[in-house]
Point group: C2
Chain length 327, copies 2
């Protein structure tokens, strides 16, 4: 038995929900009657999506988390995933930690590993995830309508702050070690908003997950829905309030830099979504039920384009370049 067979065996566990798991030419999934299968796929590459010296336990967590976040954005319930792994060598302690982080998050969401592939090669992690959603009930990017409220879950910007600090960005260098450790959790161990996505079924008119930065990602909803949006910058300050490291450290940073982190930082894995004003109570109930903070940040308008206004309603013309979200 070669070392890569050993690796494969490391990840092989009995399946409970799939009809057939690891070990044959294919795995078999049997979606419940009336359910569609939501499918998403992300590939993580060393140096681009994570540092070479990243904690492998955190990497295992994040590799699945970014995929679960896509299911959350569709309102799909996690079901199963495949893992393809290229590794430069079979490093047992690394694999044990990676598998631990991966499978702990998988277990927390009752999402089982049903197959995959392992090979020698430059480190590369490719996960394809499967979820169930009632036929016609998936949250799409294309459903936003003029007049809908725009929301974002959780807090934004900490992941970017951590990334900049780790890369010795001059703006982020002032971050204290204790706050960096907290912000780094947001970068390396994002929380997929699965429960919120499920609670927003039948409530949100559109949704996506914020992976490349709020404003850039909102643009996907606007284009897919054929609408525009007005974002109230004063309301977005709530996004850096509360638990965000950004807030606690804010005295040490330039305000423009903080705003950039929040609005275009990336790697947040929060949900951005829209819902009609008539469903504000339902949105609040969904947030409550799923234990996720939700902040209303603007409104969908018929005129295409994304308009930012300040507290006095005046247009803000600053350019929020979408950061290249790594490397």
């Amino acid at each position: 038995m070669g070392e890569f067979d050993l690796i494969a065996r490391y990840f092989t566990r009995p399946v409970r929900r799939a009809a057939l798991g690891v070990g044959d030419d294919c795995a078999l999934l049997a979606p419940a009657p009336g359910m569609q299968l939501a499918v998403s796929c992300d590939m993580l590459v060393e140096g681009r999506h994570f540092f070479a010296d990243v904690d492998p336990e955190a990497l295992g967590h994040k590799a699945l988390a970014v995929n679960l976040s896509d299911l959350a954005a569709c309102g799909a319930r996690p079901l199963a995933f495949t893992l393809a792994l290229a590794l430069p060598r079979a490093d047992e302690p690394w694999l044990k930690a990676f598998a631990g982080g991966l499978l702990r998050l998988a277990d927390a969401h009752d999402c089982e590993l049903i197959g995959g592939d392992t090979t020698a090669g430059p480190l590369n992690i490719c996960i394809t995830v499967f979820g169930e959603v009632p036929a016609g009930g998936a949250l799409l990017r294309s459903g936003a309508r003029a007049g809908d409220d725009i929301y974002v879950s959780g807090t934004l910007g900490d992941a970017r702050l951590a990334l900049d600090a780790l890369r010795s960005h001059p703006q982020a260098a002032a971050l204290s070690p204790a706050l960096l450790a907290t912000a780094r959790q947001r970068l390396e161990r994002p929380t997929p908003r699965v429960a919120l996505g499920l609670a927003l079924r039948g409530v949100a008119s559109s949704a996506l997950d914020v992976s490349d930065g709020l404003l850039g990602d909102l643009g996907h909803i606007l284009r897919a829905s054929g609408v525009g949006a007005r974002i109230e910058l004063a309301w977005t300050t709530d996004l850096i309030a509360g638990y965000a490291v950004l807030t606690r450290a804010s005295a040490e940073f330039d305000a423009d830099y903080l705003e950039q982190c929040v609005l275009a930082g990336g790697d947040d894995y929060e949900l951005a979504f829209t819902a009609p004003p008539s469903l504000r109570d339902a949105v609040a109930a969904a947030a409550q039920a799923s234990g996720a903070r939700v902040t209303r940040i603007g409104v969908i308008e018929a005129t295409p384009g994304l308009r930012l206004v300040d507290a006095r309603g005046l247009p803000v013309t600053r350019h929020y370049a979408s950061f290249d979200h790594f490397a």
Copy 2:
């Protein structure tokens, strides 16, 4: 729009069979009532699964072909696939050729690209493929029973011969350029036996695809089924007859080397399967209907282990090391 958005757009086409294709957080698949979804995943890495200078059109073909071969081995009808691609740079002519080879094979099997991911990184191709199979009707590795016949489709060994010739293996160096070109087609553009897999539903008791070499792969069926097998080496000579380059070039090669290519060569992507002797006519009809040659090579026995016998029924004790199937 960045270069990787352009790449993504290169592969984005309207879907016909999926409920939702490329462009949202998830794609949506709706298996027909009573059908299970067969899922398989393969990752191809430069230097391990293909040469750096491989024709990108052939690479696109092979990347999907090896996945379709897994569906074939389960008797599943191709439905859709996701593609994750790490590329060192956006080389348009390379991408055009790669997409051409990939999508031509996809179209031939009515298997549509529903999503994926592109990123910068060392060249890596990860495809996850989805097929439909009636609930309970998938061909598994675990169904072989004592007394069943053992079959292999097509011909074996040409891919190995081509690989050895390209790597200047002394045994294969004598191969003429014309024969190498033909054998190379088998290495670089394998034919997934999808139609045969479908025709074998309800006929074969077990099946898998031969990717790592016949004897090694047969071992998977034997272990999964808890049985053994007797292989009649005299019967396997049919596997190198007919269209196989090996036959036409056989005068130039050592007989042991040829046998090694056939029995343990790898990269063949033919189906190995078992069926009760009472269904020999049905096997022949399935082969006829799908246009695939099928050769009977032995019989399943109750005693575990794989026994090779020569034309006189005497045990053959040669060791057929499973080649490491690349690099």
